[in-house]
């Protein structure tokens, strides 16, 4: 009989098995979320979606946990992921930088009833470039010119369309290396939304979506990919989240807004954008090309998606309370992390939306 103790192989396998079982055993202390024996205090909420607000949400839910003990686990999987997961019901709330399309809304609502878009904060998309001798903010672009660059209709930096708005800048006689986002993203959604508004050519040939068919040249994976390409390839242009451009000290362009002023992306300019747009009650509106004089033109809300009809009273109530906190007390955490806080008018409409969240017909929270 083979002595198992002497058999190294069995020994190693047994060790791994024991370890795994031990880990798994230690890993299941709090049980499943549906356990009714757990005290009401230790509520677990899971949310997933847009990467853009993830740093803010991480901060929020860390603070919220210290405040109330509720564990809100938010993970960035992308706006599209946020929409599909809330539709499938694998998470308690979703998050997206792009408004749900009619088809997406129909699908979600057919499964779980009406769904709400609640804005949490807004952010800008910076247009970055790599031109030697031209520092941040010096390059001026209009929406039309930007669209034509991305349409590959303007192919050189010293094209008259660009030089005419930049008198005094020495622009090289070189091809523009155009960098786009290769992964679908809310950033692309906001960027293309703007370009569609300012260029009918762009609207008809490319369109507004999280992923589009760019005529060229190079795709970067994520903000890091785009920034990396722009930093390395001379005479290139790209677009990234403002936070990314700021934190990594990238040179960005000043864009001409709808009021005719050239504005650099900044927190103030981001907040102003919401003040130039009329907000519908369902808050499904894009903030691009705002008419406010000081607004930056490429701005977007980021929303949290929740169903009106909640299936679990405790979780639904915790969710509603968390959202209420986020649009009020939570806003004080936005600016230190370079996110714009919500304007007053936005908060009022968001409040109404949160108050409409129900369990079995009854609203879950009151003012």
């Amino acid at each position: 009989m083979i002595k198992w103790s002497k058999n190294w192989f069995a020994g190693t396998v047994a060790a791994i098995l024991t370890a795994a079982v031990a880990f798994a055993g230690c890993a299941a202390p709090s049980g499943s979320p549906a356990a009714s024996t757990s005290p009401a205090k230790s509520i677990n909420l899971n949310g997933a979606g847009a990467t853009f607000p993830a740093p803010l949400y991480t901060k929020w839910f860390d603070e919220y946990n210290k405040l109330t003990g509720v564990k809100v686990n938010y993970q960035p999987i992308g706006s599209g992921g946020g929409i599909s997961q809330i539709t499938e019901g694998t998470v308690d709330f979703g998050a997206t930088d792009g408004i749900m399309t009619d088809a997406e809304t129909a699908k979600a609502e057919s499964k779980n009833g009406p769904i709400l878009h609640i804005p949490m904060t807004s952010g800008s998309v910076a247009v970055i470039y790599n031109l030697s001798g031209i520092s941040t903010g010096q390059l001026k672009l209009t929406g039309d010119v930007l669209a034509n660059i991305y349409l590959k209709k303007i192919t050189k930096w010293n094209d008259p369309a660009i030089t005419s708005i930049n008198p005094g800048l020495k622009l090289p006689d070189a091809a523009i290396a155009v960098v786009f986002r290769s992964d679908g993203s809310g950033t692309t959604y906001i960027f293309t939304n703007y370009l569609c508004k300012v260029s009918s050519d762009f609207k008809s040939s490319i369109g507004n979506a999280k992923a589009v068919k760019w005529p060229g040249d190079i795709g970067g994976q994520g903000n890091a990919g785009v920034a990396g390409q722009v930093q390395q390839i001379p005479n290139s242009i790209g677009y990234v989240e403002l936070a990314y451009a700021e934190q990594n000290k990238l040179a960005w362009a000043s864009l001409k807004n709808a009021a005719g002023n050239f504005v650099e992306p900044s927190l103030a300019a981001t907040t102003k954008a919401a003040e130039g747009i009329s907000l519908p009650d369902d808050m499904k509106v894009m903030l691009t090309n705002s008419s406010n004089a000081e607004a930056y033109p490429i701005v977007g809300f980021t929303w949290i998606l929740v169903y009106v009809n909640q299936k679990d009273k405790d979780k639904g109530e915790a969710l509603a309370k968390m959202l209420w906190w986020a649009i009020h007390d939570g806003q004080k955490y936005t600016e230190p992390l370079t996110y714009a806080s919500l304007a007053g008018s936005t908060v009022t409409k968001a409040e109404n939306a949160i108050l409409s969240i129900k369990y079995q017909g009854q609203p879950l929270i009151t003012r």
Partner: protein
């Protein structure tokens, strides 16, 4: 004289080729040093005992570590191994010892195809069969996804190693009247142990660093390990998210974590090999 110069040329050629082999090895090690060095340089500010023992902090707050994600990685690797090792080893044994040529060919073929499936697709599959029906992300689904990636590697390397054990061993044992299954487990497998362990370690190294399947199955957890049927965090997932984030703070943590991951895998490698080589005569 002619023979001597012919031999001399052959010997020169032999020396040349062997030097080239040495250069090839040096090149590989150079690349490793470049990558690992770059990783270390970028993450050094975060490498400390705190990193291993502290939970993660939101951006803007200095410090914090990846304790929960390290724990999560161990659990997922353990879970995946629990599923993949029996399946892979038994398949390898079947292919090497018991299968007829046609069956072996077919199964080997299937293993090679499975080995070529992009990890993201495995993740999507695990999502469809586990996450969606269960209406929750879970450590279980992540473990299953990783196991599917491990199985073909373990199976094929086990098979190749087992086949190289000389037939004389089998014949001698059979002559002693030992039953086949005892021969396989007691003689052949130990005889192929270093090869099998290599295969297992390669598979473990691979899944310890896999991100794509985890995106669809584990989700990630801000509050540590909550249970087998709850979302769970893991090092590669966190590395991926932090590395592509805007904040230098998080980026540095990503590099530090990557370095840590490599050291962890190396550690497992060393331990397992030590155990197996001490046993083997």
């Amino acid at each position: 004289m002619k023979e001597r110069s012919g031999y001399f040329r052959r010997k020169q050629f032999s020396r040349l080729m062997l030097v080239l082999c040495g250069i090839a090895t040096a090149f590989v090690i150079l690349v490793l040093i470049l990558i690992l060095g770059y990783t270390l340089v970028n993450g050094i500010s975060y490498l400390s005992l705190d990193f291993i023992t502290q939970p993660s902090k939101p951006v803007g707050e200095v410090g914090g570590g990846m304790r929960d994600d390290i724990y999560g990685t161990f659990i997922l690797v353990g879970l995946a191994s629990l599923i993949a090792l029996p399946v892979g080893m038994m398949t390898g044994i079947f292919l090497a010892e018991f299968a007829g040529p046609k069956a072996a060919s077919a199964i080997r073929f299937a293993a090679d195809i499975l080995a070529g499936v992009p990890s993201i697709i495995v993740g999507v599959f695990a999502y469809a069969i586990l996450v969606r029906p269960m209406h929750t992300y879970s450590a279980l689904s992540a473990g299953v996804a990783l196991a599917i990636i491990m199985i073909p590697v373990v199976a094929r390397t086990a098979e190749e190693s087992l086949r190289l054990v000389p037939n004389s061993q089998r014949e001698a044992a059979l002559a002693l009247g030992i039953s086949r299954w005892r021969i396989t487990l007691g003689v052949i497998v130990p005889g192929a142990v270093t090869g099998i362990v290599t295969g297992i370690m390669l598979a473990v190294a691979r899944i310890a660093g896999e991100t794509a399947p985890l995106i669809f199955t584990a989700l990630g957890s801000a509050f540590g390990v909550q249970g087998l049927t709850q979302p769970i965090g893991a090092l590669p997932l966190q590395i991926y998210r932090y590395a592509l984030s805007p904040y230098k703070d998080w980026q540095q943590q990503a590099w530090a974590a990557a370095f840590l991951l490599v050291i962890l895998v190396l550690g497992i490698n060393v331990v397992v090999r030590l155990v197996s080589s001490r046993r083997k005569k």
